[in-house]
Amino acid sequence: MQIKLKVMVIALGFAGMAGVASAGPVSEQMLAQDPSDSWLHTNGNWAGHRYSALSQVNNRNAKDLKVAWTTSVGAKTDSQATPLYHDGLIYFPQDNKVFAIDADNGRVAWKYEHKLPDDWGGYNVPFFTGKHRGVAISGENVYFLSNDNKLHALDYKTGKVKFVKDYQDDGIVYPKDFAKTGDSNGYISTVGPMAVPGAIILPMNGTDTGGLEGFVLGVSPEDGKLLWKANMIPRPDEPGGDTWPAGSTQYGGAGPWITGSYDPELKSYYTGTANAYEWNPKNRGGGEMDNLGAASIVAVNTESGKVNWRYVGVPGDPFDYDLPQTPMVISIDGKKTIVQPNKTGYIHHLDAQTGKYLKADRFVDKINWIKGYDKNGRPIDMVALPKEGGDPIEIAPALLGGVNMYPNAYNPNTGNIYLAATESSMKYGFEDIKLISNVRHFGAYQEFNFGDETDKAVNVKSGKEIWRDTQAGKPGYAGGMLTTAGNLVVYTTQGGRFTVADARTGERLYEMSTGIAAKSGPITFMHKGKQLIVQALGGTPGFGRDEANSVEFGHAIIAFTR
């Protein structure tokens, strides 16, 4: 009887899975699943795990992988987007265009192109232009945020535009050429949107283009109209509003610059935020005030736009550490927990409902900016700050972080998180804050000491490192991590080595030298009965000049299968 019941439960389970279609318009039910046949969210699922339930390719047969096809979209800057896959097409944004790529052969099925305004420009803008980190899909629309913060809804089969919505009337202005305006401050969108029930989430970041304060917008999937606008920096009457000096928040930074996560029960969107602006903290409390909302994890109710809680990981952030990474939602001992590895060199754990600090596990070898976190999540013995115009101080990690924007993954079967980590330190100093065309510059500088790329597995519960794959003498990060029910981890090193490893042991099962740096995470999906793994490549390795990886600027998208 017991066996019979078990069989019935399993059969019902399969029936339930079969009930979720993997073709046609994308339903809310499809968006709520862990990825298997499709890949519908930048981070794989709402919880930000980058875990696929597929196991056709697994640790026993991964050695037999072959290249199915390669293609290019002619990228002119870093390819940072994790693609989406649905119903035969792979969606990939690059250079303010969206490409739909036929999963049969890599050919472009349709292309949508957006032209930036003629007066586009300003501080750091050439660095950001053309970079995107994802698109969203819901119903029959692919949603794309162009660099100038316009939301484009495109028919998922044809690329025909349904609507384009601009948010300048809602205060989201784009940065303009210094020579063409008296005020170049603006928001620049490189981050991808996210589809949740009843809303498309748009993270708005102006931190590095003058410091305009960060917002998360909820907009209508039907026409893009603004539903709510959540401020990352608390208003004076909100908890933590007194952690900023009066008048310091308008250019206070704290922009959300990576696609966050979502919990459907708590109806909460979780995002990390950028540093407080300027990097030199003299206008925002001199590092003595917390500047809550910057270098923080923020929880936003997706029905009302109300901020439920904020936790600051780097109070008064004087080091450009920020906490931008995707906060993963992971159930640990029955408690819904926010788990975020970040630049600080620690993996922060918070209660998903209340934001209460639980613990922080160190994951890099070299940290000297603090001695750890106390039981309340406050840094212990932070180093003394450098004097403006004086000698720089040695800080580890560098502002490059223990991990940076390159996405991490979590596998519920192994209990491990997989980190695109690096070792680094920097000399860091403060200078006078320069003002050009009403744009405040950083007021700080750094001299990097690059360490090795270290791709690693850390057990999420114990915080213990399980394995590491060190790229000796080669600085940088893996482009991003993918993990699967086939007991695999997939990543490409900054030096261009596409790698499939055993998720439990780190044993490398398949690798191919692509000759191109990776700056995005791979995905996997089922296409016509075969599991494909797709990796977008492109850009220049590392930050800045980096001969160590011996890889020149390049671009390609490669599909692997058995």
């Binding site: 020579a179 063409k180 490059l400 100093g429 006078d432 950083f442 930050f543 800045g544």
Partner: protein, 137 residues
């Protein structure tokens, strides 16, 4: 007042209104062959501050091109000569087929501050750098 003059005047008025004409363009023959601030301690200190505030994001704190914001040139071995340096700062420089570029700082940085940045960069020059000869484009 003829139509042409009226248009020119209104363009100037608009420019003044926007505050973008504070630093007029510099003609090539107005740029000296050698940096007037070379070796000037005060100017080098000011240039260092400008460099760290404005240039280091791309070119790195050591001026070796290891900036956080992309692949700036290694300015320690700048081979353009002083005048060539000033030209590139004023006009910017693009990379064919690439989006990332050196923006133009004309009308943004004062010409004296560009000279001071150059005076600072001379202090970090290594073998292969050329600050003393004429123009090399």
């Amino acid at each position: 007042m003829n139509g042409f003059l009226r248009i020119r005047l209104s363009v100037w008025s608009l420019a003044l209104l926007l505050g973008i004409s504070a630093w007029p363009a510099v003609a090539d023959d107005e740029i000296p062959d050698v940096n007037p601030y070379s070796g000037n301690e005060k100017a080098m200190r000011e240039g260092k501050s400008w460099y760290r505030g404005v240039c280091a994001a791309c070119h790195g704190g050591r001026a070796d091109g290891a900036g956080e914001r992309g692949n700036g040139a290694d300015l320690r071995k700048l081979e353009l000569g002083f005048k060539g340096f000033v030209h590139v700062v004023l006009e910017g420089r693009t990379q064919p087929g690439r989006t990332m570029a050196m923006p133009s700082w004309k009308g943004v940085l004062k010409i004296d501050d560009i000279y001071k940045i150059g005076a600072y960069l001379e202090t970090v020059a290594i073998e292969g750098a050329n600050w003393k000869e004429g123009v090399k484009h």
